[in-house]
Every structure is written in C-alpha cells, then in structure tokens.
Amino acid sequence: MARQPLSLRFWFAAAFSLLLALVPILAPLIGQPHYVTMFSRIMIFGLAAVGLNFILGFGGLVSFGHALYVGLGAYAVGIMSFHGITNAWAQLAAALSVGAVAAVLIGLVCLRTSGLAFIMITLAFTQMVYFLAVSLTQYGGDDGMPIPARSDLGLLSLDHGAVLYYLIFAVLMLILYVAHRVVHSRFGVVLSGCKSNERRMIALGFPTLRYKLSAYVISALICVIAGMLLANLTRYTAPAYLNWVASGDLIVMVVFGGVGTLFGPVVGSAALVIVEEALSSFSLGLPWGMDDLISTHWLGLLGIFILVVVLQLKRGLYGALVAREQGSN
C-alpha cells in the first residue's frame, strides 16, 4: 500500500510542535517568562491526555479514572524523594513497576464490564486511591507534600526551568511518535477493531481481553510518566492530582482536542490550560464586579462551556479536521 500524502492535520501538528519548541526562547523575549511553566503544564497534561486517548479514543473505553495513574507517578517521585532516592532512573523504574501492577489488577476487574459499568468502576477505583493518598499522613495526607529536589538525571540538572521544559518536550514527542507507530501496527489495528465491533473481533478469533488489558496498561504507564514530570514541575505531590475533577479534566482535553486523533489531546490540553489561566486571572475591567465573578467562579463558566459544546459540537476542535478529511475520501 502506498504511503498516504502528509495531511493537513500533520502540518498543523508540526507547526504546533514547532511553537512548543520555541516557547523557552520566545517567552523571555516577550517579557512573559512564566509561559515556560504554563506550557510545561500544557505538555504534561497533553501527555496524560495522549495516554488516556489511547484507550478512550482508539480503544473506545471511557475511563473516568486515569488521573489515578498521574497521581501514582507524582507520588512515586514524592515518596522516593522523601526517602532520599532522587535518582530519576530509579524513580522511573519504581513508578513504572507499581503503575503496571496497579493497571493490570485494576484493568482485570474493570474490563470484565463495559459501557456504563466500566465508567463507574474506573471512577470508583480512582476515588479509592484518592482516599488512600489522603490517609497517608506521613506523606502529607490531604494537603500533599512538597518535593525537596527535582529528579536527578545524572548528566542534566532539572533545576533550570528550560531544561525541564525540553525534557518534557522530548518525552512528549517521543511518546507521540511511539503512539503513531502503535496505532498503525497489528496491535493498533486490533484495538480499533475492538472499539468498532468487539463481537466481530471475538468471532474472528481474537482474544480481545488481553489486547484491551495491554492497551489499558500502556495508557496507564503514559499517565504515570506524565505524573512524574508533573511532580518535577511543581515540586509538589498531592491527592488533588488524582481526584475525579482531574480525571474529568483529562476527558475534557481528549474530547475537545478530538477523540481518536494522535495530536488532538495536546491541543485540547492547551485549550483547557489557557482558558483556565485566562479566566482565573480575569481583569478586563468589566462592570458590576464581573471581573471578580469570573476569576473566582471560572470553573462554573467552564462547566457551562463544556455543556454547550457537548450539546452542539460532536467532534472536538482538532477532530473536525479529521472529519473533513474522511468526508473527502
């Protein structure tokens, strides 16, 4: 089969990635150095959303519980740092191992169900781990705990914001590329088949459970990595990283970016983070105290926006490009 010509969405993604690459250079030039932190957050949550999209968009499984794995990654860094282990590779090994075991166990329970039950069970498990985190009083309990030092990579020091930024950027690009290969591989084809018509897949001879479980674990591990980067960025870990709001945010990012597209979640993350920053520091000088209303209660406005978008739009911002493409085939 001939290679498909590079499409509009590829160029969009390339341009966006180029912009991301230039942020640490451009930000200080335009007098907004905090953009480096903001775009670091965008990329981290974009990475987590890419992970979620792996089973949500490509696998068709609506997990309301992926923030659990983000929190796991963050706490792995936090707890190990607390005990004096700051080596990044050791932290990575520990986080991925614990994450894999948790994902396999939780996945095995959740994947016995589908539809509504699956959504509810994933949410329930996230809350379970949330309460577990809250009860860990020696690690900060409800408030969480600060992390004394960023992970030690050996050759690089992550103390400088730009260095951490480019690490996050590199990880995001790498995982996007790997995801691209996986989506088109045999495994990816099976996953999309399970989403499209699982009954057919079983009748054809595919043991679908093991493929869905593998996809679940892979998506969980991507979120674990995102969590580790988040802990490094904020130098903090807290139960708030894995509550249901955080899970909901990830779903919003995936849907607003375009379900089932590779780069969409990054766009969705950018949209959500920028809206959050813009609204929570709203000061355009509107009358009747509206500035205050908006900056304090922006979450409510976001809620209304989500409602309206869901009721009207079906494919997400980035996904609209995909739809246009498919229509022209």
Binding site: R112, L116, A117, I121, Q138, L299, L307, L311
Partner: protein
C-alpha cells in the same frame, strides 16, 4: 469491644446505608432504564441539602424546610432533564459523562457563589434532638429517624415498583426499553418521571444528611462514589440490588472504619497498624466491590434483560 459499641456502629452503618439507598435507588433506575451516565446526581443531593438549609435559615422549622426542599429538588431535576439532559439519551456515554461533569462544575460554583465556600449548618429538628436508649447506650434519635424514614421510603418504593401500573412500566423499561416503546409506552414521559423520582429521593437524602454531614460545595461527589459502588455491586437498574448493597456498603464502610484499625493493631506492629489501618479501612468497600465483580460482573441482584 462492648455490645453497645457494636450496635451503635451497626446502626450508624444502617443510617449511612439508608442515605446511600435513597441516593442510589433513583440513580440505578436512570442508569438501567435510560442507559444514561448521570454523574450529576450528587449535585441534586447537594441542592436538596442547600435548599433545606436556606429555608431552615429563614423560618427555623426543619419540617417546612423539608416540605420545600424535596419538591424543589424534584422540580430542579425535571428542569435540568428537560432542558439539557434528555437531549443526550441517544448520545454515547462519553458525551454524557462530559455533559454531567460540566453540570457538576456549574452546580458547585453556583452554590459557592450564593452561599460561599464555607460549610452551612442545618440543625437537627428540635423534636428529634434527644437520644434513645439502646442497651443502656444513648443513640441520637435523629439518626434513628433517618433509618425509619428509609424503611418507609423503601417500602413505598417497593409498592410503587411492584404494585402499581407506573411501576410496571418502569420495570418494563428497565428490562427492555425498545420493546416498551414499541408497545406504546410514552418513553420521554416515563424518563422524566424516573428522573424526577430520583431527584426527589436525592433531595430527601440531602435534607436528612444535612444535620449529620456538613452542607458544603462538592458534598455530592464524595457520596456519589459510594452510591456508584452500591449500584455496581447491586446490579445496574435493580432496586432490590440497591437496597441490599446499600445496607452492606453502609455497614461495611462504617464498621470497617471503626473496628479495622483496632483489629489490625492486634496482629501488626503498632506503628504499621497506625499507618495502614485507616488506609485499608477507607479502601474496604472498593475491595468488596472488586471481589463481587470478580465473581458476578453483573452485580449481586442483576435485572434480567428481555
């Protein structure tokens, strides 16, 4: 451990179970009949509590507060259903999750705007502020009342579902919605009815929970997860399942939190038990849910589908 303590905790568990039942009964019907992922149900519970607190603040009567709050919550539920949620019944679960997630955010912020982020207080009604003697241990009369109300509502629901025409239609809708529609049942009306019923029950739960738990933004979500555990273990769409598993979850959670740390201290090193005890206790019902799912993925009392 004395019998008195045991019974107190058992009753506390029963009381939590009743609240969970009220919250889960309507929700399991919405899940089962409309196949609709309504995660904003906890917000109705919260609004019930806030309505009650507001009315109580104005007139000082718990009874009046209740008489206003429950119908108000029912009305709110029906409005939300007609205006927004009913358009999502045919959409996939992802859209439904997102929309109700947005609704949760809206409700929480509205409440924060009107009443502020600090907890609001709803006092126990005068008539029930005393205690009842239970095996020579005083037990709050109000908590007894909650259990009593739960039994009455449970019986009423049973009668409604199993002895009335409306209930039969609801059961038909739960077993096979397409067939029910094909037989001429007015499905949109039935849906609104079920949703309204669930809203009223949630409002009632909020009203009664008000004096016991704090009335604050986000209170709906913490109890919603427990309700979800109840529904999953009981079986989606099954009222009977909701009854039994609400009681089980309520008792296991309460008793677990009360007794498990102590039990662990008998077997483990004190500092380990101190650290691990509350953590495991809080995870207990989820582990229970996982065990039930391992053997019966459709729940303990699943609805048999036509």
């Amino acid at each position: 451990m004395t019998w008195g303590l045991f019974f107190t905790q058992a009753l506390n568990g029963l009381q939590l179970g009743v609240l969970l039942f009220l919250l889960s009964a309507g929700l399991t019907l919405v899940f089962g009949i409309m196949n609709f992922a309504n995660f904003s149900h906890g917000s109705l519970y919260m609004m019930g509590a806030y309505f009650a607190a507001a009315v109580y603040g104005w007139c000082g009567s718990f009874l009046v507060a209740g008489l206003v709050a429950v119908p108000a919550t029912l009305l709110l539920g029906v409005i939300v259903e007609r205006v927004a949620l009913s358009r999502l019944y045919q959409r996939n679960h992802l859209d439904q999750v997102l929309a109700t997630f947005g609704l949760i955010l809206v409700f929480n912020e509205v409440v924060r705007y009107i009443w502020g982020p600090a907890p609001v207080y709803l006092n126990v009604p005068e008539a029930l502020s005393g205690t009842v003697d239970l095996f020579s241990l005083p037990y709050p009369a109000y908590r007894f009342a909650i259990i009593g109300v739960g039994l009455v509502v449970g019986a009423g629901l049973y009668l409604l579902i199993h002895r009335t025409r409306v209930g039969m239609l609801i059961r038909a809708g739960a077993a096979n919605g397409t067939m029910a529609a094909a037989l001429g049942v007015n499905i949109p009306l039935l849906n609104t009815l079920v949703f309204g019923l669930g809203a009223a029950l949630a409002g009632l739960a909020g009203l009664m929970a008000g004096p016991v738990f704090a009335v604050r933004p986000g209170m709906g979500e913490s109890i919603l997860v427990l309700a979800l555990v109840v529904i999953i273990t009981g079986g989606i769409g099954s009222i009977r399942g909701a009854v039994y598993s609400a009681l089980i979850v309520g008792v296991v959670d309460t008793a677990g939190r009360a007794f498990l740390p102590g039990i662990l201290r008998e077997f483990l090193d004190r500092s380990v038990a101190q650290a691990v005890g509350p953590a495991v206790a809080s995870m207990l019902i989820y582990l229970l849910m996982a065990v039930v799912l391992a053997f019966r993925p459709q729940g303990l009392f699943p609805v048999r589908h036509g």
